[in-house]
Symmetry: D3
Subunit: 205 residues, 6 copies
């Protein structure tokens, strides 16, 4: 059973590191609360994976970001994948994140459609058409073979893209969920010995 | 439902590129046959992922190697993982494979216990003890936080290692199976547009 | 003129991504406030550079992290530098940060002395002795030629280390300050066109 | 003295990993037989270097792939080289191979002319014209300075390309042959201590 | 106080490795002489940083190259910077230098305006216009966010470029000077323990 | 026919970048003179490849450095090679050169025996014994499989090392010579279109 929970506070969209940092604080609370309530694992359902490292520190249940899950699967299915993002600033943010994950340059390309999350929610058909146009051009210019939808607002547009472009498309929310379920079923979780060790219990003023 | 099939021909153990190449030929046949029989996906259950690229070319159902699956999960759960292999030559083979997958140097270390696949099958307890000793030493020297059991003969030794070493251990057969099931459930498979395009139907003399 | 300001809230020490995320929120406020008060630039004086990317987004004056400044200078002065951190978890955090900055493996080594920030503040002499012992051993084993003190609690220990180890030691607080002053004097600041573009003014609930 | 031997079996062209794997089996046999017959060294004359690693394991005489030889020379003669391949799928295959060899991204570009090996053999003049057109465009767009002909079917077209494009062109068959002769004359061969150790003599069913 | 000294001998412009090597010999003498005269630090004011490594060996005062200084600052201010060079051969020279410094591919792009140093000195307005046109096009095609003027002959053109292109532009001479002053003020210099150890006093015939 | 020519001037040994720069000037002259005298190619017989890039610019005949040639062959014969250098400072110089050539970290290790070129020439037996001891230890600790003798003073010690260590050893002078002859026989030389374009004929004061 999967429950979808929205943080009570935070920005209505996440399109900057500033928004990610604000969201991180709420993610921490929700993750700790999920563990207390007995959930088996947590997916952070924003493509920026905000607060992911702290979340992995704070609990013993597996925490999976939808971007890291999508990239893990994409690398198994293709030599090079194309990330389609919403707006211009998402491009360097995704490139920096791909680098933090250790992804080599030749395995990805990142493009954007020049719309905000809110634009996309307002006009999904327009967003889909724009995605198809931009992807088509990028696929011609690069040798990408698979598309990762790089914004959670794109959820639901996968089948349209697959039909038009005739290649696999990864819906990050679905990827995050399945990778998390895999970890739960395998009784695996983030290692708690070093990077994701439980934080020391410092006084917080 | 999972069926385990052994190729009818091939070497009794795979401990060289030569053995991998011999196994690849059999893997091709089994993968094509599996698709014809209606299987939803295939896992290649040797840690060297022999024939993996050709297998992905030959069918439309997802084909997953147990090494690539293990590495994909390991990178989500830790900054650095330790691969424990059977014999000395497995070390450069795994390093070369990790490089072909695009894994940066700081994310892994590879060690070995100096036994062949056949030795391990003969004396599993000895193998387990040797693994524990070698891993303990390697964990002290590196900053690895998770272990990938780098030989399918190690299957079944996970819980012993986890108890002794107190960190997550990935059993590659289980990882391969779960990643494959994930792909099947997500209706995803290797992209057939470029790297894994169906081979042209050349005459084979 | 340099003013040193402590955030009013936050953990007393920063030794996890969780603490970094908590600190980031306060860093944002201080940075915005600093710009409003007419400061010419800001240095984030924690070696983890918490909130650095959002801070660069939020203002037009230059924002410099003391780790990124130290690493920039270290790479000019040596082929390989040694980062000496406080505690075990700081090692993967620094490695991940060095990677996010694009630093290749052969240019650095990271070690730690097994003390928390609070331990170091309590017993500075003990910390210094421990640093010298650990650095000496690491310098023998690697070919590092310069030391970056990887924790702001080490501030003030530079001259002792330089005398004992006879090589350059970078005090990160001083590095951060000087690199920031350099940018101010050169009328340079983070580019506001893409990565550090001012965040869109989304409603924050 | 150089003898050219064709395997008795195998696909008439090699344009997929599947074909490479089929060819590998024949390459093994020919290499072992060559050593027994007293040859001093072996060149694998397909640009994919099929079976190269197993071949190096199976014998003590030097085995050289024509792609690895071409790339080794190209890197001495230019900062960036251009590989011109036959068909679309050869592009990711060559990129993956360049990566397995450890070649950094900025040192190469790979393009293709959209013909199969059989097409090229049928219409060599058309192939040559197509190569010249594609190379000219790619040279304008990249900063490549040297061309590696990335298919053994291109053999013989070197001088035409050099005259038209006015830069060095490497014929891979010639490169493979000369690098192999160099190793023979230097009494050098692949190291047999680890990666290319003789395979253990497992029973092959 | 800053003194600007020209070597007495050497080529009138530096547009090849040959010119760099000729300049290096003069740089050595000037650097040694500067230290003897009591200067606190030295900036090598040619964008190729000719003789930089030997210069760091020969003296104890800090020696800074204007390219390495510019790149160090650029990486703090942007994810990706654009280097605008004078002539075609400067492009691979800068790429090779960026690689020697350990800069990853995704952090830079290098373009050129097709003029020699002498052309630029003759017609600065023409050079500036050409720079603006070329940068504008390159900024559209890449995701660069900051410009490094990659030739000392461009000195003085910064403000014009900044006004036209609306992003930060680094004047390398100014960057070299400020980074050098920073090192002097911090009492830091190149490590003399390994890479930049004083050369052994061999007889020079 | 091979002629060995010593520059008339320059340091008696090359153990710093300063010495390399001094040697470069003489290398230029000898290379230009060699081309005028009708030589077919040139090998620079110092393991630092001093002046290599300028030398490639100055002539049309192939110029090969003995280090770049050795590394090119080593990468074909082993996954990882061990460079044995003379003195401590040679280690970072070789690492920086390997990086400039684009060699990934996992393919090499560099060690040294703590002797100067002059020491080695004085006591070749002592040098050989020291090399064997150091290599043995390094081979145990790393997974290197082949040795590159990283100093021209080691010439002639190859067979002793091969007998003791039982793995291939590359004598760089021999490697340089054979790679150069290969290029001559293949009618190949450095590309003159970009990196190694003939330098513009600037006035040299």
């Amino acid at each position: 059973m999967v429950d979808v929970i929205n943080p009570e506070r935070g920005p209505v969209g996440l399109e900057s590191y500033y928004h990610y940092d604000l969201a991180a604080i709420e993610v921490h609370k929700l993750v700790v609360s999920a563990e207390k309530q007995g959930y088996d694992g947590v997916v952070i359902a924003c493509f920026g994976d905000p607060g992911i490292e702290a979340a992995k520190e704070l609990v013993k249940i597996p925490v999976v970001g939808m971007a890291e899950a999508s990239y893990a699967l994409a690398r198994i299915l293709a030599t090079k994948f194309l990330v389609i993002s919403d707006c211009d600033t998402a491009v360097p943010r995704q490139i920096r994140y791909l680098k933090k994950l250790g992804t080599p340059d030749y395995q990805y390309a990142v493009i954007q459609i020049g719309l905000t999350v809110l634009d996309i929610i307002d006009d999904r058909e327009g967003a889909r058409d724009s995605m198809i146009t931009k992807c088509r051009q990028a696929l011609k210019e690069s040798s990408a073979e698979l598309i990762v939808m790089g914004c959670s607002a794109f959820s639901g547009l996968r089948s349209g893209l697959e039909q038009e472009l005739q290649l696999p498309v990864i819906d990050p929310a679905v990827a995050g969920l399945h990778v998390c379920m895999t970890l739960v079923q395998m009784h695996l979780s983030q290692s708690k010995t070093l990077t994701y060790k439980t934080p020391p219990d410092f006084e917080i003023r």
